[in-house]
């Protein structure tokens, strides 16, 4: 019943001999078994695939990002030209760039899906508080990736979206000016901004993400999977299986679906740049990436007008919401995990999602009113 093949009478194959050599010294088979044979209570589930999918998307972003760096240069005089070179001259460059672009959208969507799944399953509750906190930090990093990466093509859209975003951060009391100058590398956006955003996007955030993701997975394994929130012990036991192969298989089907979706989006709308960035916005109306649109629209409301109002709308309110999320496992001590028995949680989740959706769509509608 064990998965090891017994040594046959005729001796081991060459590959088996190599594996046995390493195994004797490192304990390879035990490590592998320990990593893979984790019983998932209630069985592997499609709902659990989002964590692995996020890892897959990150790896794909890293791979396509590295490939893009073969031709992209982060200088104000060549960033735009090199990006256009990738899109128009390099074989399949348009495809890899569009994949990278849509991959970032997929990452944000899956982050929302993963956080929602964890929230609805109550898997942030004791003893999983630390996993949740690290996860929130990872969420922040993903948003940071989106924000910094957006500037790199150095076209009008990139330049002005970043300018507006950093100006908003500037409104933070006390430290706002320092933060904004730090990001811009000066008083106005220019080469220094591009260099800083590039190093943050390509070195600092990836290192941070890899470290935190490793910690996230380690903490998850230490606590064990939470499993389904309902079902009798008999049902749960009957359906229990190991992480490998069933959950891994579901993970990979999820990955392939996401991969194909990103490719399809790359075909449907390949990346097209606007004109090169200039200090004069002209007719162009700045707009951030779609996953920041709801904040963007929020700031258009009259109640957030004025300097302090912009700070409240853009930084204080979202910040307070994130603080609430962070405090969640410590406030919500009820061990009940069934979402249908946690009305506040369910309604809260629906309302937050609805609000974000509403404001995003409103921002899109608002485009027509800008002229």
């Amino acid at each position: 019943m064990m998965e090891q093949t017994p040594p046959s009478a005729t001796g081991l194959t060459a590959l088996e001999k190599v594996i046995a050599f390493v195994d004797e010294r490192v304990g390879l088979k035990t490590i592998q078994a320990k990593m893979l044979n984790e019983p998932v209570p209630g069985g592997s589930r499609w709902a659990y695939v989002f964590g692995s999918i996020l890892l897959f998307i990150f790896i794909m972003q890293a791979v396509t990002g590295i490939l893009l760096m073969f031709y992209y240069v982060p200088t104000a005089d060549h960033a735009f030209a090199s990006t256009q070179y990738i899109i128009h001259e390099v074989d399949y460059g348009w495809f890899l760039l569009s994949y990278h672009f849509w991959g970032s959208t997929a990452m944000v969507v899956c982050v929302f899906a993963h956080m929602s799944q964890v929230f609805l399953w109550g898997a942030y509750k004791s003893p999983r508080e630390l996993i949740w906190l690290v996860g929130l930090a990872l969420f922040g990093l993903v948003m940071g990736f989106g924000f910094t990466g957006y500037l790199l093509p150095w076209d009008q859209r990139a330049y002005w979206a970043t300018t507006v975003g950093v100006e908003i951060m500037d409104k933070t009391p006390v430290i706002g000016d320092f933060m904004a100058r730090f990001l811009k590398g000066g008083a106005t956006p220019g080469q220094m901004t591009l260099s800083r955003f590039f190093v943050i996007h390509v070195m600092i955030l990836p290192a941070g993400l890899m470290g935190l993701a490793g910690l996230h997975i380690f903490l998850f394994r230490a606590a064990g999977p939470a499993g389904p929130f309902r079902g009798t012990p008999e049902e749960i036991k009957a359906k229990t299986d190991y992480f490998f192969p069933r959950q891994i298989w579901k993970d990979i089907v999820g990955m392939v679906t996401v991969f194909l979706t990103i490719c399809a989006l790359a075909f449907w709308e390949p990346v097209v740049l606007l004109e090169e960035a200039t200090p004069d916005p002209g007719d162009y109306h700045p707009e951030p990436e779609w996953y920041f649109l709801f904040l963007f629209q929020l700031l258009r409301l009259k109640m957030f007008g004025g300097e302090f109002g912009q700070f409240v709308g853009a930084m204080a309110l979202p910040g307070a919401f994130m603080a609430l999320l962070a405090a969640l496992p410590f406030i919500d001590r009820d061990p009940e995990r069934n979402i249908f028995k946690r009305p506040i949680a369910l309604i809260g989740w629906i309302m937050v999602m609805a609000m974000i959706l509403l404001f995003t769509i409103a921002a899109i509608i608002n485009r027509e009113f800008l002229d």
């Binding site: 008999e234 049902e235 009957a238 769509i361 009113f369």
Partner: protein
């Protein structure tokens, strides 16, 4: 235990449709991607709709042609669309089979009868073909009217002064919730219909005598093919062939949007521009008002002139002024 809850038609329908949709989806998506890469089909902006129609589930597969004929939701062009539609049929039948057998075993504790896949697929596809156009029409009607009503609301004197961003937000909430509510209700009704179809198919089925653990093991092992080597080799070969086609067809530099489906400069959504409409109306009104004013002025001048003329004794017949010509109202947008 959970048996009683699971046999409600709504839960049953939801279970089967949701699972069948996602079971077939990756395969359909791979084929759709290949067709996109080879330029065999082009989608317009409403790709979300395309997804729902083609890739979602058995119930939509017949509905799509009917809808294109009746209501013209033009999704795109290319013979790849028709081909994809044809290929969805066997995939859906297979997905239906896997899902329905699992549900029969686990939730209903019944032996799945032979030919369940095909019979269920035909019934659900026909049900969809009838129901989806109704849903489309109803939801479309309600949405249009609620949008119009919410606009009208904000054109009243009371609410005219509300700033743009707030107005958009509130309007969207109003018509959005109405539209969404109607859509959800229609969907629930449709899903329950499918649930009833499945339940009637279950009437003739025999109960299995097996224990819970055995049932779980059975449907779990159903997913393991009898000849693994053959299946895996076949999948790999098909994948390799599709990859080769993909490489051959993938455009080397950015594909230009097909003539049919160029993204319009304005949004593809029906452009309702209340401010523009208001402005246009206002302009028209000011023009009309100015015309009326000038007419009145002319009239008073004429009358004054008439008086003068009368006084002078000479009555000059006032020329029928252009003011008599009917003023055409500008066409309302």
């Amino acid at each position: 235990m959970t048996e009683r809850e699971s046999t409600s038609p709504l839960k049953l329908g939801l279970n089967v449709l949701w699972s069948a949709c996602w079971t077939g989806f990756p395969i359909k998506l791979a084929i759709a991607l290949l067709f996109l890469a080879l330029g065999m089909m082009h989608f317009e902006a409403r790709i979300g709709l395309a997804f729902l129609m083609y890739l979602a589930s058995p119930v939509t597969v017949f509905a799509m042609p009917i809808l294109s004929m009746a209501f013209e939701p033009h999704l795109g062009e290319g013979f790849g669309i028709a081909l994809l539609f044809l290929l969805c049929i066997p995939i859906d039948i297979w997905a239906m089979g896997v899902v329905s057998r699992t549900v029969f075993l686990e939730k209903l504790r019944l032996e799945p009868p032979d030919g369940l896949a095909l019979s269920l697929w035909i019934k659900t596809a026909l049900a969809g073909a009838v129901y989806m156009p109704i849903l489309w029409f109803v939801v479309g009607f309600v949405t249009e009217n609620s949008i119009a009503m919410s606009h009208a609301l904000f054109e009243t004197d009371l609410l005219k002064a509300v700033p743009v961003a707030e107005k958009i937000g509130i309007e969207l909430t109003l018509w959005g919730s109405v539209s969404l509510g109607v859509l959800l209700v229609m969907l629930l009704i449709g899903v329950t219909l499918v649930g009833r179809v499945i339940k009637s198919a279950a009437q003739s089925a025999q109960p299995t005598g097996q224990s819970y653990q055995d049932i779980i093991t059975r449907w779990d092992l159903m997913r393991v093919p009898a000849d693994q080597g053959l299946m895996l080799t076949a999948v790999t070969l098909v994948g390799v062939v599709l990859s080769l086609l993909f490489w051959a067809g993938l455009p080397v530099s950015t594909p230009h949007p097909h003539e049919c489906c160029k993204k319009p400069e304005v949004k593809a959504q029906p452009p309702y521009k209340p401010v523009d409409a208001l402005n246009k109306n206002e302009k028209a009104i000011t023009v009309l008002a100015a015309q009326v004013e000038s007419l009145e002025k002319m009239k008073t001048e004429e009358e004054a002139a008439k008086e003068k003329e009368k006084d002078k004794g000479k009555a000059v017949k006032a020329k029928p002024a252009d003011a008599k010509a009917p003023v055409k109202a500008p066409a309302t947008p």
